[in-house]
Amino acid sequence: MSDSIVYNIPITMIEAYRGRTLVVRSHDPSMIVQRLAGHDLEMVEYLQVPVTGGDIDSLLHWEHAVPVDLVIHNPEADLPLLYRYSAMQAARPVRVSVPVAPGFSKVVKLALSLDFAVKLEFSQPGPALTEELLRVADLYLHQSTVSQPVEFIHSMFLAFYKGDPVALWIVQEEDPARMRYITARGIETISRRFAGVELNEALPSFIENYIEGLIKEEGGECNDCEFFDSCLGYFKWPRKEYLCEGVKALFQRLKEAAEELKADLSSFHSPKGENRS
């Protein structure tokens, strides 16, 4: 039986995961280049390196076009380091994964300016950060110079546009049915933010059980949430009591923008004169 799961592993475990589909990570980009020599790169979905990574020269000049995910830990401090990677874009797709922490919108803006895709990494953002999120959503939605996706904003916007919900757990690469994160100690978990967290249920059924728990909760916010089909309680982890007001405002903004676009396009496609004032 073939294994369709993607494993996010430290480069040191490359031999143990030979033959699997992988995301390979290391603090030392030059080590990735060295250790991947002779491996089947078709099986590597992307490389993950911290933006603070030491010697990036060998990765910059690596002949293989494997995509790279640059991981930001501290948005304010790491911001200027993005320029070190600007030359990499010519050789491979580059994505920046940035935690939704103070100053993250600056990273998003610079990353998009360098034509890097962006993935926002969430915990449970407070009011100040949801304000910053709304600004990022506006940047993505309305600035004509933006040509790269900002996830999950991009996928949610498309989902609203198509009227076809998309599971945030999947978009955020945290669906254990599709992806597993292997810690430095070799422990299999859902993603980096789950590392060190004791999960009481088996990984494959974690989300299903978690959703079930949220729905059963009497008076729980998820019960009558119009965005539940896509969110699936994503923002209720780790604290179930987290109030989603700010996140819902973001979803609402995306939904309205999708509807606006649909209306614009339908007016554009209508026979001349119709739907025009």
């Binding site: 020269d57 000049h61 690596w62 002949e63 076009a65 911001l79 200027p80 380091l81 993005l82 320029y83 070190r84 600007s86 030359a87 010519a90 050789a91 600056k106 803006k109 610079l110 998009l112 300016s113 360098l114 034509d115 600035q143 004509s144 110079t145 933006v146 040509s147 554009f268």
Partner: protein, 377 residues
Amino acid sequence: MKGTAFSLILLPTLSCDADCDYCFEKKNEHRITLDQLCVVVQKVMDHMEHNHIETLSIYWQGGEVMTLPPDWFEKANIAIREIAERGNRQVLHYLQSNMIAYTSKWNRVLADMFGNSVGSSMDFPNLHRKLKGGGPKEYDRLWVRNIREATEAGIKVGVIAIPNERTLEMGAERFFSHFVDELGIRDFQINTPFPGGSVNDVKMGYPLNTERLSGFLADLAAVWMDRGFHHGVQVGPFSRLMDFFVHAKKDLMCIWRDNCVNDFVCIDPLGHVAQCDCWVTSYPEFRFGNVLDDGSLSGLLQNSRARRQLQTRPSVLIQKEDCLECKYLTLCHGGCPVRAYSVYGDVFRKDPYCELYRRLFQNMESMAASLETESGR
């Protein structure tokens, strides 16, 4: 790294038959020999192999390249081709010349080596381009005669024009008419003047007034949209900005790339390596090294303190200037370092034409939006 390219601005000579007021190059009579050229090209090829780069674009500039004889270029072309074939690399050649020494003897080289295309320079009105010991009028007369002759021989001539105070007074309509209607130029570019190199009275007037220059550019863009855009006339930087705003195609001038250090280097006839022609000829303290002396170009570039300084410039600018707040950060990351250095004596300042660029981007963005609205009707 399939598809990637390395660009080399190559100055085979710093000898020049002109004496333009605003030239930023410190001229001399040095010429690179064919043997030295082969050493340089071999080292560039080695650097490309080390970095898995397939294509080399050589931008031949001077000094004035046509102070070298055409047969020198024929020999150079053969030698470069042989080196490139040994390394399984592709080489593209581009020529920038003032065309003052052009005669039909150049036609074969222009066809064989440069795809029957040449980039030249002329201003309107011409106040500052002069022949050695001569004036702008003689320069004009020779240039126009030679451009017409080259065009008749089937050579495509592109022109870089530097606006001056009189250009701004005469206005965009007259400027456009001169190049397109009177001279038949279908491809020209406006560059902003800056006080690079040694100081003189003309350079003291740079940078030009932002208000007036941006007004001129806005008018010129409107004239181009009205009379050039739909008729295949390319005007830089408008054409490429329109491509960006309409087609999301990002092929920007060097001053607006995220870091010019990633894209090219310049080598002079003595083998000095620096970021571009202005740095290599006029600011020796910013040279990266000498490719004829040092072991490898890769090592030279990697170990250069001056290059590292330029490399860090955009990341310093987003912390100390207001670039991060700019709506057009994707189009400009602080602008040209040599323009900043020539005006402020500091590479860690943004381009003195920042406000001009911002207005230009804004104008082109709204022109692109109007164009799309019109085409949707």
